[in-house]
């Protein structure tokens, strides 16, 4: 009977893990695509793999499917934000896929920022990118928020996760943006609107519409 050492077990596991995670560049990494039943990749892109003794465990968790999950549309109006105030627009701690998210703001102001966070497996908020999104150097992830006043007049300009679909003139300026790709948050997400000016309120009209799949 052939004997297999623990080191050989580890080496074998490591080759598979590197392949699946994309760390090994001689094979294409495994990609989880929309419509799968489960995924085994953490929000930070790493594999939830544990080797305990001779037992290898790959954790997985359910991912919402469009056909069997619950769709929820949420939206609303906000007419002002107090000085230094944060308004929690959504706070979901279950697996969710955001199929569509559109938000608009009148009177774009550099003190108003829109933050989008992902929860990790420990229930903590983090800025790491949600799954299904390619990030660039100037992405939403690195910026961590949208500064509405920084959005230029260019229609259809992409800004990280977001795509500007309309911008009116600066006099009665309003911005409408939407996601350029669906996002999957295995542990939930949080979206906040923040007034960073601690002395003055901001009067504006805010509207949002979010279509979520998989919220129980």
């Amino acid at each position: 009977m052939a004997l297999i050492t623990l080191q050989q077990m580890y080496d074998a596991w490591k080759r598979v893990a590197d392949w699946v995670s994309g760390a090994n560049t001689d094979k294409p990494p495994v990609r989880v695509t929309d419509g799968t039943d489960t995924m085994a990749i953490n929000p930070d892109g790493s594999l939830p793999v544990q080797l305990t003794g001779s037992k290898l465990t790959i954790a997985s968790f359910d991912v919402p499917r469009g056909g069997s999950s619950v769709a929820r549309e949420s939206g609303g109006f906000i007419d002002s934000i107090g000085a230094g105030a944060t308004i929690v627009l959504r706070d979901v701690k279950t697996p969710v896929k955001i199929q569509y998210l559109a938000c608009g703001m009148s009177n774009p102001n550099s003190n108003v920022r829109l933050y989008l966070y992902a929860y990790n497996s420990g229930g903590q908020l983090r800025y790491l990118p949600p799954l299904g999104v390619q990030f660039t150097a100037n992405s939403f992830y690195n910026a961590q928020y949208i500064d509405f006043d920084a959005i230029q007049n260019n229609a259809y300009t992409e800004f990280g996760l977001w795509k500007i679909i309309q911008r009116k003139n600066s006099t009665n300026g309003s911005v409408i943006i939407e996601l350029k790709t669906p996002l999957i948050f295995p542990y939930g997400y949080k979206m906040e609107l923040v007034n960073t000016d601690q002395a003055n309120s901001i009067i504006m009209r805010w509207q949002q519409v979010v279509l979520e799949l998989g919220v129980a």
């Binding site: 609303g76 107090g82 000085a83 230094g84 105030a85 308004i87 002395a199 309120s201």
Partner: protein, 78 residues
């Protein structure tokens, strides 16, 4: 005043070691920084009244009057 905040509101972490306190306003949760509110309330009695809070910023520059009214409706303030 700080103890009153802890007693009446949900305290949340704002990052960078800062705390906020949360309350409901219609369909949304609103969070204000604790240190900013304590600075605003400097010299006021504990607990403050709505009138006292509004008198600090009579022109409502900060836009907080709406929040104070909500606290009164929710029984947090008199």
């Amino acid at each position: 005043m700080l103890e009153w905040l802890y007693e009446k509101f949900e305290i949340v972490n704002l990052g960078d070691g800062k705390q906020g306190f949360a309350f409901q306003l219609e369909d949304y949760k609103v969070v204000l920084p604790v240190d900013l509110f304590l600075q605003y309330c400097d010299g006021l009695n504990t607990p403050p009244t709505v009138a006292e809070l509004k008198s600090v910023d009579p022109e409502n520059t900060k836009g907080w009057h709406l929040y104070f009214d909500a606290w009164k409706e929710q029984g947090i303030l008199n």
